[in-house]
Symmetry: C2
Subunit: 351 residues, 2 copies
């Protein structure tokens, strides 16, 4: 089965229209007509070949919301007409210890999980092709139920990556009422971190490098905003945070944030910087039994939990809709942080 | 009250005999005649002025075992003739949240905890003076019961710092049966880490840079020994450790060890290197929800728990006894790792 898509033909080529093959749905597959696809920084890094091992043509996109058009005979969770989502993963080994514990994102099988794009494809295709396309076929285990209102569907798309990437560490490190939680960086990930930590009942402090983002961060649900370049403002919070979620993937001083943790606090990174962060101080960790940790997206069951929580609480991403043809311009704007806070492609514009 | 001691008069001076003042025991104080004092790397760094803020004359020593000679009227835990120990702390604020939770080592009071040496002394004295002395006076809360056999007392002294510094993280990170635990560096701290992790029932892997230490590490209780310079040997353990205790305070590649952690594993540092470790990889942490943490000695209740455990299981440090006058030579040998594994001063030699 063939479908329209938008692809980078090579590392430095602008994206353009292409026709791609999708496998015929197997007994456990769900075929989805894509309505919306969020635009993640990973899309940009991959399409432009900034990461190693990218295969071309490359169709990015892993914040997918669409409508089910067909299901295999063994699929019971979905039926044609349902609204469904697909995130960063479309397969994993399903048998390793992490997979058996709903932690497919940490699949310890021979190939780790299969990314929604640039992963190892099934059915003889060379690599998985993502959500910048009209149709996708995914095994039911990796398809999510979407219970948001019809008018919220576009803004729900970024929950599939930005949402779960922030939700998973917030939940893992027990963020909730009575906890003081920081979110570093108020962009695509960070703005979801603020919304979700707030909805989970924590006292949320947003850290930004820009004084101009204060009001916007408050509007997202932050209880306080700290401009991280202001040493006095930072020092006033020393030793007070239970948990800090650091969404900034650019190299920066982590000690500035570990110093703000209280005893047994954790600073969790969700982004890999191109150039390493300056070496963090062992002393700051030792004199407070603090930790620097990492977290990767989230498992499928946890993603469903997050989506259901967001539907119930009316939480979506703040998005700017774009047409498919404007994707390269959107990438350029993302590089300048010129988006509040996530681009979403209206896939109707691919026709 | 005056007592004989051994002190550094200045940063680069050799240590020599001195007479020092001890406060008269107050109602909650315990006066102890010191029998043995272990020699910690911190003693060396402090005596030789390698750390900032050292006051002279400096009397090091915080692995103290001795006999109670007098107690204040409100002391019920000890009586004259008891064997007692003093570790790294002789006071703390006692009212902050960490102190209230038996975590005096993380005292959040205005002055943190009071170190056994180079801390802020009570009674108008300029700075606390440690265990390289014949007598010490310490408030009962910071005095430990020692239940080891008489012939084990010298070898029990290093438990007061090396023992608790390794015990506390092993317990905090739930080391026990069914857990695969690494101990990096087989020196004063590391050899206690191996002994304690083994006694706690874990599968213990000792990491050393030297092939020549294999048998010695097995003798300490390691189930396996890995020479960390051997990449193949390291790779064979990738993703398999629940916890790794890193006792090496010299700058080294932490990624080599975080790569060996399994999902949700933690690498805990207990030493502050003079030059920072190379910046650890965020990606290794993220793709496995791993953490790099720190840990500082242990609380008083936890130190008592460790001492009681060690007495019950016949665990002591492996020590080499020295005379007080040989302390500078012992420091020089420590710098060459020429000790298996801890020097202990026989305080009878101070007469």
């Amino acid at each position: 089965m063939q479908t329209k898509a938008y692809a980078a033909a090579a590392a430095r080529a602008p994206l353009g229209p292409i026709t791609i093959d999708r496998r015929d749905p197997g007994s456990k597959d769900v075929a989805i007509e894509i309505l919306y696809c969020g635009v993640c920084h990973s899309d940009l890094h991959t399409a432009r070949g900034e990461w190693p091992g990218i295969l071309y043509p490359c169709v990015p996109g892993h914040e997918i919301i669409g409508r089910v058009t067909a299901v295999g005979k063994d699929v019971t969770k979905f039926k044609p007409g349902d609204v469904a989502g697909v995130g960063c993963m479309v397969d994993s080994c399903r048998t390793c210890d992490p997979c058996q514990h709903d932690l497919e994102q940490y699949c310890a099988g021979p190939h780790s999980f299969t990314g929604t794009y640039n992963g190892a494809a099934k059915g003889g295709l060379p690599n998985t092709l993502g959500g910048y396309s009209k149709q996708i076929v995914v095994e039911d285990h990796f398809v999510l139920r979407i219970q948001h209102k019809e008018e919220d569907l576009a803004a729900a798309a970024p929950l599939l990556c930005a949402g779960i990437t922030t939700w998973s560490p917030l939940k893992h490190w027990n963020v909730g009422p009575g906890k003081k939680v920081g979110v570093v960086g108020i962009g695509g990930l960070g703005h979801m971190g603020v919304k979700l930590a707030h909805a989970l009942g924590a006292h949320v402090v947003a850290f930004t490098t820009s004084d101009s983002k204060r009001q916007a961060a408050l509007d997202l649900g932050a209880d306080e905003v700290v401009v991280s370049k202001n040493a006095d403002e930072m020092a006033a919070h020393a030793g007070t945070f239970d948990f800090i979620l650091n969404t900034v993937a650019a190299s920066h001083d982590l000690d500035a944030f570990t110093k703000l943790l209280k005893l047994d606090g954790t600073l969790t990174l969700v982004g890999v910087p191109e150039h390493p962060h300056p070496s963090p101080s062992a002393g700051v960790l030792i004199f407070g039994r603090k930790a620097i940790a990492g977290s990767l997206i989230g498992g499928i069951a946890e993603t469903q939990e997050m989506l259901d929580f967001c539907a119930e609480h009316g939480i979506t991403s703040d998005v700017e809709m774009i047409a498919m043809k404007d994707i390269d311009h959107a990438y350029d704007r993302m590089l300048k942080s010129d988006v509040k806070y996530r681009f979403v492609i209206d896939m109707a514009t691919l026709d």
